[in-house]
């Protein structure tokens, strides 16, 4: 088959001079009609520049030094401006930031129609609208005709990404360049988007260049994969062959670094069941009152966390997982007593943390610490690192300058920060270094419980591994208890012994690591596992349990089981009765009628 899009010896540099940094180095590949080609590489490897070079969208200071791009045999860089504009309808681009891609002041539909008519002036407005609505339907945006008139802020991240795919497909392109489209999405939504892209190649004969930093994600999507490292394509193979037998050392490293879920024994050692309970939630709930937007007044109740009950024992690495909007962050704020629960209790070593005042509160603060998510926003920009780390100690009454300095330097050493950084600002530090400062700031008070709020999600794979090793070493040394709040199941599989799965503010399943990944009790857990991109044979087939649609709004949680609208195994009883956490085994619980049915008599658990 003749190539649809072909890059020949493409070299792109940053600036025009001879010494300018080369971003793409002699890249050549081709894309056949209807084919999905994956491009995988670490951050800063030149992926995005590659995607832009392919569609003639290099902006200064990026300059093309040599090479050509042939589209259906014609060189797009030699074309006249007007011809290129005509070609734009055949080549489309979808980027990684769906929320920033559309004008927030215009309805989504109108913007897509506008774009379509810009490249295809002979289409009437009505025809264009019909086509956009048909496509919105095709990417499964519910009630597309109404959604057409909604504004970008009314779309969720997943829906927005699908709307942008419509935006790219509306001119019926021959090539779609998808640059990291799944990155900002939750796993189940990302899986939906990938499935959508695959269907579209069949339906509309579109060839796709699928660019991603995650090898498992590329494997899900593409039939052939290019590996790019520092601007060079180092390997090109059919995807399955590439995963099974990588040739280039970089690819081998990439494959080896991808965490495995089911293959091999779990890395987490089993802990004795009877240990001291350090943190205990008793029906903790949080309800926010949000003003209605109708202008008349009144409040909506947002039930962000509902009746969460679990125990964390000393030495646990406890994971709280779920998609965005499931109440993880609210739960984190409750646990760290940034907010008080609207109902229920949180007990820390037997005492209700809501009643703590003064000295007791300070003692609690020293016992439980939080490591934040954003490595850039979480450090005050104009405070030196030493000063920053001393601050919590000063708050807790340390005065002696020598002691302060000694303590801070000791902690800096423990987390792998050089002592020279003591008087430095956080400015020049990498994301990994910054997270180490974050960890140090938490550790300096010698806490026993550390909450990790998506601490690793901003880091690349190699840095994540280093920090995880650090966490494990610290845990061993200080007998720490970790609570990981995460959406990354692969990381959870690697380090956590106990996992709580949350959905719409509720805990759906609570189980030990091994049980959760090999014998999940809740259909939602299965869906999460099936949506997870991996390099291995999946235990749970997406065809059986992948979810449709998105979670309902926490403003109007449906009666009965809150999952029933997406559950592939919903039954009669799910409509009327809300399932509670039910014992499956000594330690494992799931909130599903299926479990209650197999375990009779169904009894409400008291974990």
């Amino acid at each position: 088959m003749a190539a649809l899009l072909e890059l020949r010896n493409m070299t792109v540099a940053l600036g025009r001079s001879e010494t300018a940094k080369v971003i793409l180095d002699d890249v050549s590949f081709s894309l056949a009609p209807k084919e999905i080609v994956g491009v995988v590489g670490a951050s800063a490897s030149g992926k995005t520049v590659l995607s832009r070079a392919a569609v003639n969208w290099l902006e200064p200071p990026l300059t093309r030094r040599s090479g050509t791009v042939l589209f259906e045999g014609r060189d797009i860089y030699a074309m006249k401006e007007a011809d290129m504009r005509a070609l734009r309808q055949r080549v489309s681009y979808v980027g990684a930031n769906p929320m920033g891609a559309l004008d927030p002041t215009l309805p989504v539909g109108a913007q897509i129609v506008e774009k379509m008519r810009a490249v295809m002036p002979d289409v009437s407005r009505r025809q264009a609208e019909d086509r956009v609505i048909a496509l919105l339907d095709a990417v499964r945006i519910p009630s597309a005709r109404n959604r057409f008139h909604d504004y970008p802020s009314q779309f969720s991240g997943g829906m927005m990404q699908r709307a942008l795919i419509v935006d790219a497909l509306v001119t019926n392109p021959a090539v779609l360049v998808a640059d990291n489209v799944t990155q900002p999405l939750d796993v189940t939504v990302a899986a939906q988007v990938i499935r959508l892209i695959k269907e579209l190649t069949d339906q509309f004969d579109t060839a796709v260049l699928f660019i991603s930093s995650s090898l498992p994600m590329v494997r899900e999507a593409s039939s052939r994969t290019l590996v790019i490292d520092r601007g060079r394509i180092v390997e090109e193979q059919a995807t399955e062959a590439l995963v099974a037998s990588p040739i280039h050392p970089y690819t081998r490293e990439l494959v080896a670094q991808t965490p495995q879920i089911w293959r091999g024994a779990g890395a987490v050692p089993a802990l004795p069941a009877e240990r001291e309970v350090v943190l205990s939630l008793r029906d903790a709930s949080q309800t926010y009152r949000v003003k209605k937007r109708n202008g008349i007044g009144g409040v909506n109740l947002v039930r962000a966390v509902r009746n969460v009950t679990f125990d964390v024992r000393r030495g646990d690495s406890f994971a709280i997982v779920g998609e965005s909007g499931c109440g993880k962050s609210t739960l984190m704020r409750l646990l760290s007593r940034l907010e008080l629960p609207s109902a229920g209790q949180i007990l820390c070593e037997g005492k209700d943390i809501a009643t703590l005042r003064g000295r007791d509160l300070l003692a609690f603060r020293a016992r439980l610490q939080l490591v934040l998510q954003d490595p850039f926003g979480s450090l005050p920009p104009r405070t030196s690192i030493g000063r920053m780390l001393e601050e919590p100690l000063r708050t807790h009454g340390w005065r002696d300058k020598e002691k302060l300095r000694a303590r801070v330097l000791k902690v800096m050493l423990e987390v792998g920060l050089a002592a020279e950084l003591y008087n430095e600002l956080p400015l020049g530090l990498s994301a990994g270094q910054r997270q180490r400062v974050n960890v140090a700031r938490a550790l300096v008070l010698e806490p026993t419980i550390l909450i990790m709020d998506e601490t690793l999600s901003a880091l690349d794979q190699a840095e994540q591994f280093k920090l995880l090793d650090l966490f494990q070493a610290l845990q061993k040394e200080y007998n720490l208890t970790y609570i990981f709040i995460s959406h990354d199941l692969a990381m959870v599989r690697k380090v956590c012994n106990r996992v709580a799965v949350m959905y719409l503010g509720e805990v759906f399943e609570l189980a030990d690591n091994q049980r959760l990944f090999f014998d999940p009790g809740h259909p939602y857990t299965m869906a999460l596992l099936s949506a997870m991109p991996t390099l291995e044979e999946k235990r749970y087939k997406p065809e059986d349990c992948l979810l449709e649609g998105e979670p309902p709004s926490p403003l109007s949680i449906p009666a009965g089981c809150s999952f029933k609208s997406r559950c592939p195994r919903a039954m009669e009883i799910c409509n009327g009765e809300q399932p509670f956490l039910t014992v499956r085994d000594e330690q494992d619980f799931a909130a599903c009628h299926l479990v209650a049915r197999t375990m009779s008599p169904a009894e409400r658990a008291s974990p």
């Binding site: 940034l338 934040l372 926003g377 979480s378 601050e391 050089a418 950084l421 400015l427 270094q433």
Partner: protein
């Protein structure tokens, strides 16, 4: 991204061990702008402190024979005894300007400090706590903004005697809302930052967060813009003096010197000009130093050293 690379790049510079404030200061002092500003400022300080006493000329002493003498090298009958000339009743302009500078500068600085304290405190509280506190303080600000400064000045200074503390208070009180608004908006964005949350988890009280975390971060830029307000306040004081509500004669301030000189602008331009010259010199020197410090701070904090 190894630790080694960072360590080695910094250990090669011995500067790294100095504290940040020290580095900022050293860098500022090294810049020519700061040196020029400091030299002018120092000269002015010495002159105002010493010249009126050393020359033993009374700034209020009249000498009708020597009235309206021009400054050195201008006109026909200038003399060395009055380098900047004399005014309409023969008072020495140099001494009057220097003494006036003392009063005007004092009033300018003091009213800016009042303004900063009131404005920043209220703005920070409003921005940090939000909600009802914010609403109350902001309505108060609006109320304050809706009263024209001159009306307030006439009301207050007309009723009580226009003493220096009263003038400082009036000027300070009528201008704080600008700072309250400025502080409120920046505090509102900063308090949602993650490091504020981290400090809360660390056990810091709200007061501690405001004082040790937010103020050091936000005040420098506010302080810098407030330097320009010192000039504005000195001019406002002149306005009041013009209306007869400023510092009362015979005590010289820039306001009443200019007000007097206005009538003689055509045949004795120097009376109204000299205070302006001193005003300009003072503010230029402060701005030069301020700008140098600001630039040094930005360079150091942006990793320039």
């Amino acid at each position: 991204m190894s630790i080694m690379s960072i360590t080695s790049s910094h250990s090669s510079t011995p500067l790294a061990s100095r504290s940040l404030a020290r580095r900022v200061f050293d860098r500022a002092v090294a810049s020519p702008g700061f040196r020029v500003g400091a030299a002018i400022f120092l000269a002015l300080v010495l002159a105002t402190a010493l010249y009126p006493e050393l020359s033993a000329i009374d700034p209020t002493k009249m000498d009708v024979k020597a009235r309206l003498l021009p400054p050195l090298f201008t006109g026909t009958n200038w003399n060395w005894g009055h380098p900047l000339g004399t005014d309409q009743i023969g008072r020495d302009m140099l001494v009057r300007s220097l003494v006036g500078l003392r009063y005007s500068f004092l009033i300018g600085m003091a009213s800016v400090i009042v303004m900063l304290i009131v404005g920043c405190a209220l703005g920070t509280v409003a921005g940090y706590f939000g909600g009802r506190t914010d609403a109350v303080i902001m309505r108060l600000t609006d109320a304050q903004l809706s009263i024209p400064m001159i009306i307030l000045a006439i009301a207050v200074l007309g009723v009580s005697r226009p003493t220096i503390p009263a003038i400082v208070l009036v000027l300070g009180i009528s201008n704080w809302p600008v700072y309250a608004r400025m502080m409120r908006s920046v505090v509102m964005t900063e308090r949602q930052r993650e490091f504020v949350r981290a400090a809360k988890i660390g056990g810091s009280t709200d007061l501690r967060i405001i004082v040790t975390l937010l103020l050091p971060l936000l005040l420098p830029s506010v302080l810098f813009s407030s330097v320009l307000d010192v000039a504005r306040m000195m001019i406002f004081e002149s306005t009041l003096g013009f209306l007869g509500l400023g510092v009362q004669p015979p005590t010289p301030t820039f306001g009443n010197i200019i007000a007097d000189g206005r009538k003689y602008l055509l045949n004795a331009w120097w009376i109204a000009t000299m205070p302006g010259l001193f005003l300009g010199l003072t503010l230029t020197s402060i701005n030069l130093m301020g700008a140098a410090l600001e630039r040094a701070r930005d360079t150091v904090h942006a990793g320039g050293e």
